[in-house]
Amino acid sequence: MNPQHESGTVNGPEHGNRSGPNTGVQRHTRDMEASLATLLTAGTALAAAVLFLGAASYLRTDAARQLDFRTFNPAEHASVFSVFRDALKLDGAGIMQLGVVLLILTPVARVLFTLIAFLYKRDWLYVVVTLIVLSVLCYGLFGSGLVHEG
C-alpha cells in the first residue's frame, strides 16, 4: 500500500493543495488501524484465555452438577463491578463471568482507543461522535441496571 498514491485518490483534486500534511495523516491512519487491530486481538485472546481457565476450573469442581436452564430464573443481578469482585473468589463460574465481561469490554476499549486517536488528531467532529457512542455504551454497561431493578 503506497501512501502517496493513496492520499492522491482519497483527497482528489479538491484537496490537492493539502497533499503534504495529508500524507502524514494517512500514515497516522495506518498506524491507528494497526494498533486498533492489535487491541482487538489482545482483548479477544485475553478474554478467551480467562473463559477457558474458568470453564476448566468450573468443570473440576462442578462436573457432576445437574444443570437445567429450561426456565429463566436470574439468581442474582450481576454488574460489571460485582463480576470483578466475584472473580477474586476464584471459583469457576466467577472466572467464566469475568471472561464474559472482558469480551464485552473489548469493543468498549476499541471505542475508547478511537476517541483518544481522534483527540490526538484534534478531529473534534469525530471526538463528539465517538463520545456519544461511548456514553451510550456506558449507559448499557453501568446505568441500565439502575433503571431495571427487580
Binding site: L40, Y58, F69, A78, M96, L103, H148
Partner: protein
C-alpha cells in the same frame, strides 16, 4: 444433563456454529440461538444473552484482520455506531417488556431473511460517484484495496443508513444476533459502499452494538456463565478456522445446507410458539 456433558457438548456444537457462520458470512448468532433452544433446552432469554457474547467474540476476532488489511471504513463504522448502539439499548429495553413468543417470532423472520439472502446474494451495484454533502462533512469517502490497487469510492444516503442501523441494533439486541444482514444491506444497497467494505465495516460495528445490549443483559441476569463461556469459546474457535478455510473451498453446497438448517429451525421454533411449548 451434568455440567460436564452440557459444557463439552455445547462447546463442540458452538465450534460448528462459528464455522458455519464464518463460511456463510452470517455470523454465529442465527445458528446459536436455535441450537441452544431446540437442542439444549435452554430458555430463549439465556440463549439470547449467550449468543450476544459469542457475537462479540467472533466480531472482535475477525475485525482485527479486516482493519489491518485496510477494508474497514472506520469513520463510517463509528458514525453509524451512534445509531446501532442506541437501537441496541432500545431493543434490550423492549426485550424485557414483550413476551418470549414475540421475540421468537421476530427471530424466525430474521432466520428466513438469512436463508433467503444466503441463497440469493444481491447483484453488485455500479459505484455511484455523485458527491454527497453529508458524506463530505463527515469525510466518509475513502479508498479500499482491490486487485487493481486502491480504488476510491463515495458514500451516500447517510441519514437513511442511520435509520436502518438503528433497526439493526434493535434487532440485534432483541433476538441476540449480529444483524450483519441488515447492516450490509444498509451500506451496500443504500449507502453504496463497495460490498467488501460493507461486510467488513458491518463486522467492525457488530461487536460494539452487541456490547451495548450485552451490558444490559448481564445486569438483568440473562448471561449465564455456564452457557455463555462454552458458546463464546466454541464460536470464536470455529469462526477463526472458518475464516482460514474460506478462501479455499466452494461454499455453494454449504449455503444450501445452511439455508435448509435455518428454515427447519425457524419452522420448529414457530411450531413451539403456536403450541405454547417454547
Amino acid at each position: 444433563m451434568t455440567a460436564l456433558a452440557f459444557v463439552l457438548m455445547l462447546l463442540f456444537a458452538s465450534i460448528g456454529a462459528g464455522f458455519l457462520g464464518a463460511l456463510t458470512g452470517l455470523g454465529g448468532g442465527v445458528v446459536i440461538v436455535p441450537l441452544l433452544v431446540l437442542l439444549f433446552g435452554v430458555d430463549l432469554r439465556y440463549a439470547v444473552g449467550a449468543s450476544l457474547v459469542a457475537v462479540i467474540a467472533t466480531s472482535s476476532g475477525a475485525a482485527a484482520a479486516y482493519v489491518r488489511e485496510g477494508y474497514t471504513n472506520i469513520r463510517v463504522g463509528i458514525l453509524l455506531e451512534v445509531a446501532t448502539v442506541m437501537g441496541a439499548i432500545v431493543g434490550a429495553i423492549i426485550a424485557a417488556l414483550v413476551s418470549k413468543n414475540f421475540i421468537a417470532i421476530v427471530f424466525v423472520l430474521a432466520l428466513f431473511w438469512s436463508a433467503y439472502s444466503t441463497l440469493r446474494p444481491p447483484k453488485p451495484l455500479p459505484p455511484d460517484q455523485e458527491p454527497d454533502a453529508i458524506s463530505r462533512k463527515f469525510r466518509l469517502d475513502s479508498t479500499y484495496p482491490t486487485n487493481e490497487g486502491m480504488v476510491a469510492y463515495k458514500v451516500h444516503h447517510v441519514p437513511l443508513g442511520g435509520v436502518l442501523m438503528f433497526g439493526a441494533g434493535l434487532l440485534s439486541a432483541l433476538v441476540g444476533v449480529g444483524s450483519g444482514i441488515v447492516k450490509v444491506f444498509a451500506m451496500d444497497r443504500m449507502m453504496r459502499l463497495p460490498f467488501k467494505v460493507s461486510t467488513t465495516t458491518s463486522n467492525f460495528m457488530i461487536g460494539v452494538t452487541a456490547a451495548a445490549s450485552a451490558g444490559v443483559y448481564l445486569q438483568r441476569g440473562q448471561i449465564e456463565p455456564a452457557i455463555a463461556a462454552p458458546v463464546a469459546l466454541g464460536a470464536l474457535g470455529g469462526s477463526l478456522v472458518g475464516a482460514r478455510v474460506l478462501p479455499r473451498i466452494q461454499t455453494k453446497a454449504l449455503r444450501w445446507v445452511f439455508a435448509v438448517v435455518v428454515v427447519f429451525a425457524g419452522l420448529e421454533l414457530l411450531r413451539r410458539v403456536l403450541g405454547g411449548t417454547l
